[in-house]
């Protein structure tokens, strides 16, 4: 990997960088759509690349079950299997093991789980996770980490943090021995729960291994913790992580979360949210999400966003037409998915341009004013951005501030 920071916001910690991988250059910060089963819901790879997207995520846990490593090896890896010629990232599979399997037990050796095929106890070790990811062949691969819910407290959090570091060492060993270090890049995952002391220790240990890892993810978040805690952990980690390594915040996809993370110095994020919410008929816009299922849209002869370059909006698909299709025809999901992926890409693309032009603080202010308008700004966003020198409320005496997660939804009839 070649990683180069090309611009830094003079106010916040946001930066623009170029990440050159085996399948091309991806400019950061960026959002990565999730193709869990080696397909972005309903779209062909040709459609996805035409949206201006060149880095997507596959889930190791799922691909290991289906189609299985043997098939992927025969096909020459996941890129060829799914016809995706651009950059690809795989997770370690550990997170799904814990979240989708009730009976997974973590031991020092690895994660012991019931095989979904035959119910037999099966072990996923750090070595095994890396070798599966080698077969998949993604440009970025993730270490196996010991995942605990962000709501867990007590000694288990510390245990998981130290084990994650030991597992990182095992992943590094396996990866370096494989001869794949030139084409596949291993990322470490910072754990430590919501405890600042543990996070500090974890980051320090992982920085010690910097010359053997290509980038860092901030894990163990987005699991229902308070947003105010979430951003503080992100900031703490991003502040300490090396400047010359990409930083990846896992499971982040709401627009306001993404921009706050970028301001705190995060470069990459992924989430199923934009594609999943599209299937429920929710279109994302710079003025907040639109629930196209609501009957108020049934006769609206305007696109979701007439400034949007996505195939749905630029071909003039009306909200009324989408209302007629969403949740009843797969084509409705395709159309909203195309739009939502372009929305995420525009959100991040505008951030890149603003950082390059030195106008990122203004971009943040404009975004929050448009997106939350008179509904009120989430307090946690105000606090998080104040911590990096941007006061969203500056000159906004009449803007309300709301506590809680603050996500806006189009739910009034």
């Amino acid at each position: 990997m070649e990683f180069e920071v090309v611009a830094k916001c003079p106010v916040t910690n946001a930066r623009v960088s170029k990440m050159k991988l085996a399948h091309g250059v991806t400019v950061l910060p960026t959002f990565m759509p999730v193709a869990t089963q080696a397909a972005i819901k309903g779209l062909t790879p040709q459609q996805v690349e035409s949206l201006g997207i060149n880095l997507i995520l596959n889930n190791t846990y799922h691909l290991n079950l289906r189609p299985g490593i043997e098939v992927l090896r025969e096909a020459g890896g996941a890129h060829k299997f799914q016809g995706w010629n651009h950059n690809l990232l795989t997770d370690s599979g550990g997170f799904q093991l814990v979240s989708l399997n009730k009976f997974t037990q973590i031991t020092e050796e690895g994660a012991l789980f019931e095989s979904p095929f035959d119910g037999k106890p099966t072990m996923l070790t750090p070595e095994e996770s890396i070798s599966i990811q080698h077969a998949i062949g993604a440009d970025i691969i993730m270490q196996l980490d010991d995942v605990v819910s962000s709501l867990t407290t007590g000694p288990r959090v510390e245990e998981a943090m130290w084990r994650t570091i030991r597992w990182l060492d095992r992943c590094i060993e396996t990866h370096e021995k494989s001869g794949k270090v030139d084409t596949q890049n291993l990322f470490a995952i910072v754990q430590g729960g919501l405890d600042p002391k543990l996070r500090d220790q974890c980051v320090d240990e992982m920085i010690n291994r910097k010359h053997r890892v290509a980038g860092y993810a901030i894990g163990g978040l987005s699991g229902g913790e308070e947003k105010d805690t979430f951003w503080r952990v992100i900031k703490q980690c991003a502040d300490k992580l090396p400047f010359d390594r990409p930083r990846y915040s896992m499971g982040v996809g709401f627009a306001e979360d993404l921009l706050v993370c970028v301001a705190l110095g995060v470069d990459m994020a992924d989430c199923v949210f934009p594609t999943r919410t599209a299937r429920f008929g929710v279109a994302l816009t710079f003025k907040g999400p639109l629930n196209l299922r609501l009957s108020k849209h049934q006769a609206e002869m305007q696109p979701i966003d007439d400034t949007c370059p996505c195939p749905t909006c630029s071909s003039g698909t009306t909200r009324a037409a989408l209302h007629h299709l969403v949740t009843l025809e797969t084509v409705g999901a395709h159309a909203v998915t195309q739009h939502n992926l372009v929305f995420q890409a525009r959100l991040m693309g505008r951030a890149r341009d603003a950082i390059m032009n030195g106008t990122f603080p203004e971009y943040l202010k404009t975004f929050f004013a448009d997106y939350f308008g008179d509904k009120g700004y989430p307090e946690w966003c105000v606090n998080a951005l104040r911590s990096v020198g941007v006061d969203l409320l500056d000159g906004k005496d009449n803007t309300a501030v709301v506590t809680g997660s603050g996500a806006v939804w189009d739910r009034s009839e």
Binding site: T44, P45, E74, A321, E329
Partner: protein, 543 residues
């Protein structure tokens, strides 16, 4: 007024029931003409107005999609129907995302494939179905809906009963009277002073399973009208003068012939019965108008209808349905010659049963998990050839988005630094059977997208093959030979369809269970946050 010109291009002397080649040209009062269609040709079917599984960009990229059949009834769930609200010169095209230059939109009230029982029609209205239940549409409201949404072609309302059988003589007589009256109603010249787009009118051939009734209905169309009857449709002298083509829906016909087990009837039995009924309708009519059949069951049926009756347009319902249930079609017309060895094919041919080859591959089947070849053995992908000019000379090529995926000529740029790749517009490697097998088993929608594009393209290639043979010297004779050979090579019982349906249903069921598990609220995963949020939104949406 849109006019649909049909010119028969068969050189040989033509009789009432011989195969024929034709060219359909649509001229619109406003706007561009649509691309001509060569017949025998394909009709793409729709659901809720759209081609199932194909987003707008994929519809445009799928060249066989030309004549597209939209049924209005699904739009009746809203009052007024949203289709009738759109303005402009091609509101139906614009609203549904079709291109006037490429797509001829034909509108009918009812879905021709829906054979479910319905409440009776009356003198005043036709009953039809939308997701919110049964709706009634009067001839007057049909006329105004049609004039508002301006399709290129429209089928007049017909009184086709979907009530329990048998239908009495009296009922059939009523059906003829109403269908004739409703046709006349649609043919009435527009009262408006400003000339407006008036679609070309097709007529559904009434008369059920009675030869005499069908004949009587057809004779009524060409009968010279007098007095009030004539004044109504003046300047037309006969109803037929205002008719652009004749439509046969096989579903109600099949129901009336074999009400108990419509789907199970031996094809050969029903086909001769169909043939008799279709011929009874067509015999009194001029041979120069296009003849349209909906819901033909198989390519074998299509060939017989072309050969024995001279049908010109067929819907692709069976091929599109195949995409829903995981089948990749793999056949050609003429059927491959036996001199072609297995090695000349790029991939394994479909399964053989009692010496007859399946029409396609049930990609759900476990055998395809490790089959990394392209979808069809009969077709290569464009990427196997150095240039587009070298295509098809050596081997048929399927230019669908699955066999010959092509990167888009332009990409969206999101920031000044984004660098676009240089290989835009090039053909990529075909998607494989193993990939679609995987997508089917993981319930990914892309599987149906790829199969829909492929199956429509295979059907178009099939009909292009038919046209190719018919255009040869001595075409009719060669065609008969090739039809016989096609029947010898390919399995008509379509067992592979039944097998695929079973597997499709079991994956659907498994998914139902899995989904409950997965989306149970309260699990603390990063996904849970957004799932719960979406669930809340959708609950609100359902209010």
């Amino acid at each position: 007024m849109s006019t649909l010109n049909f010119t028969i291009q068969t050189a040989e002397p033509l009789s009432q029931f011989t195969p024929r080649l034709g060219r359909l040209s649509l001229h619109r009062h406003e706007g561009p003409p649509a691309q001509d269609i060569l017949t025998p040709a394909l009709i793409t079917t729709t659901s809720r107005g759209i081609v199932p599984h194909l987003s707008r960009d994929n519809v445009v990229a799928t060249s066989p999609i030309a004549w597209t059949q939209v049924h209005f009834e699904t739009f009746l769930e809203q009052t007024p129907p949203v289709l009738a609200l759109h303005k402009g010169s091609h509101p139906l095209h614009t609203f549904l995302g079709y291109e006037p230059e490429k797509h001829i939109l034909a509108l009918s009230l009812r879905d021709p494939h829906d054979g479910q029982e319905m409440p009776p029609n009356t003198k005043e209205y036709v009953t039809c179905r939308c997701v919110r239940g049964v709706r009634r549409v009067s001839p007057a409201s049909w006329r105004s809906l049609v004039l508002a949404c301006k399709p290129d072609v429209v089928t007049a309302l017909a009184d086709t009963p979907f009530t329990p059988l048998p239908h009495s003589q009296k009922r059939i007589t009523k059906s003829l009277e109403r269908s004739t009256a409703w046709l006349a109603d649609l043919l009435k010249p527009s009262q408006e002073t400003v000339p407006t787009e008036h679609p070309a009118v097709l007529v559904q051939m009434a008369g059920g399973n009675e030869v005499r009734a069908r004949k009587a209905f057809a004779e009524g169309l060409v009968e010279r009208l007098y007095g009030k009857d004539q004044e109504l449709v003046s300047p037309l002298q006969t109803l037929d003068e205002g008719i652009a083509g004749y439509v046969f829906d096989l579903v109600p016909l099949q129901l009336s012939l074999a009400p108990v087990a419509a789907a199970r009837v031996e094809e050969t039995v029903s086909s001769s019965a169909h043939e008799r009924l279709l011929k009874a309708s067509l015999a009194p009519l001029p041979i120069t108008k296009p003849r349209i059949v909906h819901s033909a069951r198989s390519p074998h049926t299509l060939l017989r209808l072309i050969q024995d009756i001279g049908i010109d347009l067929f819907d692709a319902h069976f091929a599109q349905r195949a995409a829903d249930i995981g089948i990749a079609l793999d056949f050609t017309f003429p059927a491959p010659y036996s001199t072609q060895t297995e090695e000349q094919h790029l991939a394994l041919l479909p399964r053989k049963r009692e010496n007859r080859t399946d029409l396609g591959h049930n990609l759900f089947a476990a055998t395809y998990a490790h089959d990394h070849s392209c979808l069809a053995a009969c077709f290569a992908g464009a990427a196997s050839f150095p240039s587009i000019s070298q295509l098809s000379s050596e081997f048929p090529v399927c230019l669908c988005g699955a066999c010959s995926p092509r990167s888009y000529p332009s990409w969206i740029q999101h920031s000044a630094l984004d660098t676009l790749p240089t290989d835009v517009g090039t053909f990529q490697k075909p998607f494989t059977r193993s990939y679609i097998h995987h997508l089917l088993h993981t319930h990914e929608m892309s599987s149906h997208t790829l199969l829909a594009m492929h199956n429509l393209t295979v059907m178009e290639a099939f009909l292009a093959g038919v046209r190719g043979v018919l255009s040869k010297v001595d075409g009719a004779k060669l065609f008969t030979e090739e039809v016989t050979r096609f029947h010898e090579v390919y399995d008509e019982h379509m067992v592979v369809f039944e097998e695929a349906k079973v597997e499709w249903a079991s994956v659907e069921r498994a998914r139902g269970k899995g989904r409950l598990q997965r989306e149970k609220p309260g699990n603390t995963t990063p996904l849970a946050d957004s799932t719960a949020m979406s669930a809340r939104v959708s609950e609100k949406g359902a209010l």
